[in-house]
């Protein structure tokens, strides 16, 4: 682990009773990277994040976060991390502004010239787009406004590393877009390392420099969106109409296939379409592959139920079809 590494995880295990939720998780996150942890429900994403946050004790393995074991990280280490929690009914009577000022005040002794802590509250309110709602009681905020407040609280201490566990659950498309811009800004200007989990593959594709896929207690894939697509989904799908009949083929080399197709049928080919594998396809291919190979099919079945049962978001409609 070098000083350029923000998170290093080796052989991480988490056992509940006789069940290994995490079974040898390994990955690294470099400083300044935005890394997205994807995986079916029950794969252990939240458990992993909570171990890294120092909120949960692990069963075995080595974990370093900002050069320190989170299990013994202590409060000075804590000041360098930010955690975005989902608010519920906590601090219902406080105004958003007062709560931010209060929680920010804890960071004052940890200010450095390079990272002045905490953020100026007005600036922060502007940044997360809380605007005129900042002086309302938390109880009166809408779901989306609350999540903005959650994000603001997560970054009020100007963290070097920010943890986001399903940050945009319940966001409308507009809020989601603004949130993505905020995360990218943090990662850019503030050099904040970001580790997030999400169910929204579209989000992962937009935000992440690198994607980790957690399935059945292990990291089964680690790479950029493009890299993963090449390695795991591989083939592109070519479809066309010939003599009024719809046909399609999946091929690793679409260009070569098309050359042949057009040479043979020429102008008879109509409605030609080539579709590259999306992250969605890659993800589903991977999870399916893992499911087939795994002795325990539990997590894969949970995922199947989930894609069928959830309301389709922008990136989910296809996944529903693909899962069927």
């Amino acid at each position: 682990m070098t000083s350029e590494t923000a998170v290093a995880v080796r052989g991480l295990r988490m056992r509940y009773g006789t069940r290994d939720v995490l079974d040898g998780v390994e990955f690294e996150v470099r400083r300044g990277e935005v890394v997205c942890l994807l995986g079916p429900n029950g794969a252990g994403k939240t458990t992993t994040i909570e171990i890294l946050e120092g909120f949960r004790a692990r069963s075995a393995g080595e974990v370093e976060v900002l050069g320190t074991d989170p299990a013994t990280g202590g409060e000075d280490w804590r000041a360098r991390t930010g955690v975005v929690l989902q608010s519920w009914r906590d601090h219902a009577r406080w105004t958003a502004r007062h709560l931010l000022r209060h929680l920010g005040a804890y960071y004052t002794p940890y200010s450095t010239p390079a990272r002045p802590r905490p953020y100026d509250v007005d600036e922060l309110i502007e940044m997360v787009g809380l605007g005129e709602h900042a002086d309302q009681k938390v109880r009166l905020l809408s779901g989306g406004q609350r999540r903005r407040l959650d994000v603001a609280i997560g970054i009020v201490g100007r963290p070097e590393l920010l943890f986001l566990d399903e940050p945009t659950a319940g966001f409308d498309p507009h809020a989601r877009r603004e949130f993505h811009e905020l995360v990218l800004r943090l990662a850019g200007a503030e050099e904040t390392t970001v580790l997030l989990t999400t169910h929204d593959l579209d989000e992962a594709e937009k935000l992440a420099d690198r994607i980790l896929i957690l399935a059945d207690g292990r990291i089964v894939a680690d790479g950029t969106t493009a890299g993963l697509a090449e390695r795991f989904a591989g083939a592109a799908r070519v479809s066309w109409r010939l003599d009024g009949e719809r046909r399609s083929v999946t091929t690793p080399d679409a260009t070569r296939f098309l050359r042949g197709l057009l040479a043979e049928h020429g102008e008879a080919v109509a409605d030609l379409e080539v579709r590259r594998p999306s992250l969605e396809d890659t993800y589903l291919a991977l999870v399916r592959r893992h499911e087939a190979g795994a002795s325990r099919g539990e997590s894969a079945r949970e995922f199947g139920a989930e894609t069928g049962g959830r309301a389709p978001g922008p990136g989910r409609i296809e996944s529903g079809e693909a899962a069927r």
């Binding site: 909120f55 929690l85 002794p109």
Partner: protein, 284 residues
Amino acid sequence: MNRTAHAVRVGLARGWHEFGLSVRSPQDQGFYVFMAVATLAYLFWNRDDRVEGTSLLMPSVALPSMLGMVMVFGTVAGPAFSLALEREDGTLLRARAVPRGVTGYVTGQVLFQSLQVVPVFALILLPGLLLFDGLAHRGAAGWLTVAWVIPLGLLAVMPIGIVLGALAPNAQKVGTWGMLPVFGLAAISGIFTPITALWGWVQVVAQVFPMYWIGLGMRSAFLPDAAAALEVGGSWRTWQTVAVLAAWAVAGALAAPPVLRRAARRTSGSQVEAAREAAAQLVR
């Protein structure tokens, strides 16, 4: 700058702000007024009764005792319910996510719960002094006694509330197996009837716990010396009061931090999420 001292200061500001919010909240105002009205109504009902074997009116003896009881109820129930709720709703988790936030959180709780005694006392005492004759027999010396009995009583009792809140599986359980014993204790602690009228072993049980001693201390602050005849040994037993309350305070100071640390360690996003789901189930 000492970082822990800083967190304590932030916590004090938190407690003060929470108190301000509480005083301005109609819900809490209702609670304060209810406590006061219930106490005053009970005393008013019995305003002409004389305490057996003395010339003292019943409210003179019962009001200081009830102030002590109300303080104990508030100081046990307040932190117990707050902590049990705030473990579930994510308040404690938020504290855990900021540096030395749990230190600040606990400081805030202690200050806030201590300050809550003020409105309750004011709402009982001010009308009480107008309604009943012969309440404050001792004048300034009596108020000085109040000024040490209450802080020492808070120190003795608040850790009990904190431990209850930290150990209770959820807020509902605080009411059942947390508060019922405290109500039971009120019945035998010489609040409504002099303790000397009870069986010997009940007197012994009552004298193990701080409620009796806080009531005794309050009576010693308000009543003339002759009234000490009603007490065990015919004395205010001031030094024993200090010793018993101090012992509880020390025991509490030793027991509460590890229990609290354990509660803080166990709070996590998934725990809060589970409580949220359980609450949603209840609503459905």
